[in-house]
Symmetry: C2
């Protein structure tokens, strides 16, 4: 597998073989996959990608798996929606929604990272997979484990949305509900990962897992006609997604698929859990852990593993960060649904809310090609909007009842 050179420590640069390890033995820094780009460059081209499968696996040359057999063969290559209505509303000429609300099979961007993680876990000989999750990750791990006949444990916090709980149970993994919040779940899973030889996708398999997010960058570039956008807005939980979109964009330049990357990377959090955005706005390069309290539960990580790198990435790209209130999150969900017909989960409301703020502040300008990443489906977080959408209007099954209730005259039509 010559395309993967090693795992490398992001702090001290020490290199390790590409096994199930995630922490540097020398300095405890996080490990990341390092590639032989010169070799990848020889084989990859726009043409080879376009001739590939209609999924994120068309970018397999830039993913840390041996292949060709993969878990999750249908993940990714979700629609890039030209958002004319929302763009007009916000005052943007060219706005796109990268729409992972229809990702296969569990309707969130986590299907990308899990497809890579389980493929690599299987290649490394694991038969049991596990994860600590705020919900979407657990759904995806459970579904992919079922489809690939792997044993599965998913660990979730005690206050998860009903649809996300059911979205685990239906696949019949071991669903472990931990009394506490995500940070408690994550601490426990780190302990368990040390004791049991399982593939914890976001712990000991994390270096591979996180690479799956790069496919959002690759698809963005290809779907925009092989160009990098001017501005992107990305929701942040651990902060990993934001760093990997930046990595992916730069890799495409590095291997010669595009000539330049001048993309500004903007990060979005909820006010009730905004350790990264708060640090950015205060001009700090470190964050202070918080106790989350927000309806955006999928982003409720108070001690984000990649927060430091997210801050670095946004600064390096010349981007910005901001946060929105729970009310603004709900408004964001409704605005996206009512202008573009896309029903996003709370994280999507965060992204749209922050996009709106950044436009208002003049950070994102009218003529800039802008992409907002919508990472999960609204049917998973129904509780958040139920009170805000009203109720149907109830009528008797008669024409009179309808016309009286809706005050529409006869023959009042269009064509």
């Amino acid at each position: 597998m010559a395309k993967i050179r090693s795992l490398v420590c992001r702090e001290c640069g020490s290199e390790y073989p590409a096994k199930a390890i995630h922490v540097c033995e020398l300095c405890f820094g996080p490990l990341e996959v390092k590639y032989n780009y010169d070799e990848i460059k020889q084989t990859i081209s726009r043409r080879s990608i376009e001739a590939g499968p209609k999924s994120m696996w068309r970018y397999m040359d830039l993913l840390p798996v041996e292949g060709p057999q993969v878990v999750g063969p249908h993940a990714g290559l979700t629609p890039m929606v030209r958002a004319k209505n929302l763009g007009a509303y916000l005052g943007l000429d060219e706005l796109y929604i990268k729409n992972d609300t229809v990702n296969h099979p569990t309707l969130s961007f986590k299907d990308r990272v899990v497809a890579v993680a389980l493929t690599r876990a299987r290649e490394l000989g694991f038969e049991t997979v596990a994860c600590a999750s705020t919900g979407n990750l657990a759904n995806s791990v459970a579904a992919h484990a079922a489809a690939s006949s792997m044993q599965c444990y998913v660990f979730i916090p005690g206050d998860l949305e009903a649809a996300k709980v059911l979205g685990n149970l239906i696949y019949r993994p071991n669903v472990v509900e931990v009394e506490g919040n995500y940070d408690d779940v994550n601490r426990l899973c780190s302990e368990i990962a040390g004791e049991h030889g399982w593939a914890f996708v976001n712990i000991n398999i994390r270096p591979y897992y996180a690479e799956g997010s790069k496919t959002l960058a690759y698809e963005t570039v290809e779907q925009l006609g092989w160009r990098a956008p001017d501005q992107v807005v990305i929701p942040m939980a651990s902060g990993s997604l934001l760093t990997k979109i930046w990595k992916g964009l730069n890799e495409m330049k590095h291997v010669g698929l595009i000539d330049s990357v001048a993309t500004k990377i903007n990060g979005a959090q909820a006010e009730g859990c905004s350790p990264i955005s708060t640090a950015f706005k205060a001009g700090r390069d470190f964050f202070k852990p918080v106790k989350p309290k927000t309806i955006a539960k999928s982003l409720a990580i108070g001690n984000p593993a990649d927060g430091y790198y997210a801050l670095k990435t946004t600064a390096e790209s010349g981007g910005a960060m901001d946060m929105v209130s729970d009310e603004e999150i709900v408004d964001g969900i409704k605005l996206l649904a009512q202008t573009e017909g896309i029903f996003a989960e709370t994280a999507g409301g965060v992204t749209i809310g922050v996009l709106r703020k950044l436009v208002k502040q003049g950070v994102i300008k009218k003529h800039e090609v802008t992409v907002a990443y919508i990472t999960g489906n609204g049917l998973k977080t129904q509780e958040a909007v139920l009170e805000a959408v009203g109720r149907p209007t109830r009528i008797h099954p008669s024409l009179v009842s309808f016309e009286k209730t809706f005050k529409v005259g006869k023959h009042g039509g269009d064509a």
Copy 2:
């Protein structure tokens, strides 16, 4: 628009211009779109299709719209999942799931028919769209109307699943909840369609709307490597979907995209609403309307508009029909989720349950290439399975609590 020749009466053959009409003035038979296949044949090819958009619109030559501007540009081209685990379980060598649970944007096959209906409605000059729906159709009409800035009324029965109600309200159409079941809603909408000049997608726009279902046949053939399957299993509500998949397969032969069609068309219903399957099993070519009582609410049409034609189609193709109980529907949903990682709504449980029956009966044989159509997402009908999947196992956030509860020894791992 030379590819569309006319609307033609399915009973007496009278022809009409391609306007917003759906019933023959002479014999009251239903109208259907008639094409100039000789002309279509000149331009269509496997190559032209493969070079088309990554959506159902790659088959635009065979759809009743003028184009090129369409509503719902990202609908369709959903994954064809090779179901090895489920196939092995059932004893089938080559089973596929055509997976519309991730259709764009509202997670059901209705996004196909609505994309065609609203495109055509706009072309015919309508500004207001409406529908009578068991839920999925309303969700899709509401979303597409929002995205295309059309006025919208959706009419739903009073007992709809919570997610389907919210899946309307979020897009802010006029949501009209009618006291009664779908057949009551449908009768009322027929009256309203006669009084108001709106585009009722499944009433006066029905001839165009229904054609959208053909894209499931086109995609099936292309995704199987340009061959028609031996057996298909299709859920039936009005029966329209089944008839259109048959039409689509035969059109592909007619315009020279494939050489032969020997597909057996099998229909699936729920025992609590099985007017079509009951008629078929009794050897009748007509059905008796019923009062629906089933958890498969999206299929709960007691007086199915295309029931007669569905019976005819299945007989013509040499297929079969069957029905399953509510318990078998839940089992079917769980079986699909736990073998293939796909979470389907109740209609999917009907399809899997009937597939299982037909294999057991020897109707579908081991070596036959079989496609099961999974038409909607399980997050929309959570009520149906909640009781059947158990609850998470709750633990304290400690290693001891985990190991005691799950009885897993230390270092009991794989790799």
